[in-house]
Symmetry: C2
Subunit: 446 residues, 2 copies
Amino acid sequence: MDEARSGLPVMVPSTALFTDQYELTMLRAALRAGTAHRRSAFEVFTRRLPEGRRYGVVAGTGRVLDAVENFRFEPEILDFLDERGIIDGPTRDWLADYRFTGDIHGYPEGEVYFPGSPIMTVEGTFGECVLLETVILSILNHDSAVAAAASRMAVAAQDRPLIEMGARRTHELSAVAAARAAYIGGFSSTSDLAAGFRYGIPTVGTSAHAFTLLHDSERKAFTAQVESLGAGTTLLVDTYDVTEAVRTAVEVAGPDLGAVRIDSGDLLVVAHRVRQQLDELGARDARIVVTSDLDEYAIASLAAAPVDAYGVGTRLVTGSGHPTCSMVYKLVARASDEGPDTPMVPVAKKSLGGKLSVAGVKWAARRPDRYGVAEAEVVGTGPVPEELADRQIAVPLMRGGRTLARERLDVARDRHVRARAGLPLSATQLSRGEPVLPTRYTGTAA
Amino acid sequence: MDEARSGLPVMVPSTALFTDQYELTMLRAALRAGTAHRRSAFEVFTRRLPEGRRYGVVAGTGRVLDAVENFRFEPEILDFLDERGIIDGPTRDWLADYRFTGDIHGYPEGEVYFPGSPIMTVEGTFGECVLLETVILSILNHDSAVAAAASRMAVAAQDRPLIEMGARRTHELSAVAAARAAYIGGFSSTSDLAAGFRYGIPTVGTSAHAFTLLHDSERKAFTAQVESLGAGTTLLVDTYDVTEAVRTAVEVAGPDLGAVRIDSGDLLVVAHRVRQQLDELGARDARIVVTSDLDEYAIASLAAAPVDAYGVGTRLVTGSGHPTCSMVYKLVARASDEGPDTPMVPVAKKSLGGKLSVAGVKWAARRPDRYGVAEAEVVGTGPVPEELADRQIAVPLMRGGRTLARERLDVARDRHVRARAGLPLSATQLSRGEPVLPTRYTGTAA
C-alpha cells in the first residue's frame, strides 16, 4: 500500500487548474488592494452529515498533500489565464513563482468526523491559501463520501471481504480515488487496475458473462478459464442455468474449485442452494462471491447466508445515496495587516438565512466518558483544556509547504477501524439517526 | 469549444489501466483457448432510466474516442500486470502491440436515449473489444448522468444562463468532465478553469465570502474588487446584511454595476427585494445571480423571480439524485470461428432473475407520428425497414480503429436542443414519470 508509485497511468504535471475562476480574481483584486499577503487561516468543515448518517470518515488527505505540492502555474497555464483576461500582469508574476509555503493541520486520514469538526486548517497568506479551495474540497468531498459508504458496508459485512467493483459507474479517475477511499473504509481489494498500479491496492477479477457467451458452450468457457487461470479461479455461474453451471464448474475444475460468482437473482436463496450443491459435489472449500447491486443493507441481509465475499459497485462509488460531502472551505481568521507577526483575528460570515460559520482557528478533541467511549466532539478556540490535551484529533500535515505526514494506506485503514471502535455502539447501526456524537463548542467558538 | 487542446493539466499517456482486472484474465484465457480472435460485437445500453426520468442524454462520446485511441500498454504497465500474475507471456506479447482496430458506431453526443437504445456498438475481435468495457462505461455513465441533470435544469431555466459551479463537490477530474457534459446539456459556462483550458468552455467567477472577510470592511472589499475587475464585476452581497451590501455595491461601483450574487437565504424573496433596491438606486442593468443549493426544481420555482442567471453546483455534478447511469456493455453477437468472414451469431445471457439482454447487433430509429413528433424508439436487428431508413440515430464513430466523427462541443450542444425538441412535450415536465418514448423491438430483437 505504498503511495510512492506515481507517473502512469495519469500524470498531473500541475493541479493548479483544478480551481474555480473566482479564486484567481480574488487574488488579483487582493494583490492590487495590498491585502493578498495578510496571514489567513481557512478551515474545512461541514455543517451537517448526510441525512441519517451517524459519522463521517475523512479520506483524501494524502491526495490533498500531493495536490498542494503539485500546485504550480506553468507558462502554458499562465498564457491561458492571460488570454482569457482572468489575470493581470502583477498576478501573472505572482503566480509564476507560486509554491504553497504555509502550514496545514487536520484530521488524519481514516479518522471519523462530525458536523463542525475542523477537518483541515490551511494557514498562510490569503493569496496562497485562497487558491487551494477547490482542489482541496474536490478531493475531500469525493473521497470522504466513498469512505463513509465503505465503512458502513464493512460494518455490515463483518469479517467477510469486500471487493470494490465500481469503476464502470463513475468517472475513470474518480474510480481510482474511490478504490483508494474504499480501501481506507475497510474494503479488501478492487477490480480497478489503475488503483492497483497507483496505490498498490490488491486487485481481483476473473471473468464476465461475455466470456461464457463467447464460447460454444458453458463447459468450453469454464474449461478455457480453468486451463488458463487454474482450478482456484472464480467461475461465473449465472449466464444460463445456475444449478447446471455449478455442476459443470465442479466437473471441470474438480473439488479444488476456488469460487463461484453469482451476479443476479435472489442472492439469499441462490447462495443457500449453491452452497448445498457445492458441498454435495465435494467442493466444500469453494467459496461463493455475490455481486449484484449490493449496498450496506443488502449486505446485512445476507449475514446469515453462506456468502464468502461481496463485490460492490454502484452504491459504493456513489456514496450509497450521498455521492458528495458538504464540506466547505471558509476563512476563519486573518491578520489586519501584512506583517508576518501581525496577530490574526477571527472572522465569519454573518448574514441571516443559514450557512453560518464559527470564527477562529480551532482545535478539536474527542472527549471520552468514564468507560473510555467517546461522548462528545469538543471544538474550541484558544488554549486546549488540560484534560483534553492528549485527546486532540488534528495532526500537523504540512509545515512551510513541506509535507510532514505521508503515510501508507494501511495506516489510515487501521486508524479508521480504531476510530470507529471508539464511538458509542450505536454508531454502527445502519438505520438512520443523528450524528452519534454531539459537537460541543468551547472558548470563543461557543 | 475545440476539443483539440490537450496535454495539460492532465496527461493520460494511456487509458489502458482504467480497466477491471477480469477483462485481462478473460483475454488471457481466450488467447489460450483460441477464441480471442473471434469477431464480436459489444453493445452499450441501459435497461432503465433513473426512476421518474423521461429521457436520457448521451454525453462522453468524444471522451470515449479519445480513451480508445490512447488505450495502449506501455512496458511499465505490462511489468505491473506481470508482477501481479494477472497476465502470462502470450498475453503480454499480445498486449504490447495492442491498438484498437475495430469499428464503433453509436448515438452521437447530445442525442437523447431510452431503455434499450443501442447507445454504442463496438465491433472487433473479442480480445480487442472486451478490454474496453470499463473505460467506455466509466465515461458514458458519468458524463451522461451529468448531462441529463443539466438538460432538466436548462429546461427549468428557460432562456436564463446556467453556470456550472460544482467542481468542489466531485472528484477534481470528474469536475472537468462534468463541466463538459453540463455544457452539452445546456449550461453556458463553468467556474472550473481546467474545463476552460481543456475544452474551451467559457469560464466565470469573481469572488467569495472570504474576499469580503479578508478586508476591514465590506466597502473596502467591494472597492478592491471594482478597482481590479471594473464596475462590470459581480459583487457578492450576502456576507453581512444584504440590503446594506447592495447599497454599498452601487455606491462603490456606480449605476454600471455588472451584477450582484446572492448565495443564501430565501432566494425568491431576496431576489425581489434586491431587484427593487437596485432599480431604486439606478442600477437598472445590474443583474442578479443566485447560487445556493439549486436544482431543477429550485430553478423552476424562481421562474417568476427577477433572477438573471443561476449558478448550480452539487446537484448538477451528482446528477440531481442520479449520479450514474446504469449503462452496461454486453456481448450481443460473436463469430463461431476465427476467420474474419465467419458470420456472427446473436448471443445473450439467459438466466432467470432479471438482467436480460437482447441478442444481436442492432439499429435504432426514432419513429415520428404524423405531426413529426417522435412516438417510439424502434430498435431492431437485420435490415432497417424502408420507412425508417432516414430516421436512424446511430452514426459511425470509428472505423478500423480510426476516429471518424470528432466534433466541437457546440455541435453536440445544438444537437441536444434539437433532439429534445423532437420529443413529445411531456418530455420536459420535471415531474416523475415514465420514459417519454416507448422502446419497440422489431426483427429478431422482438
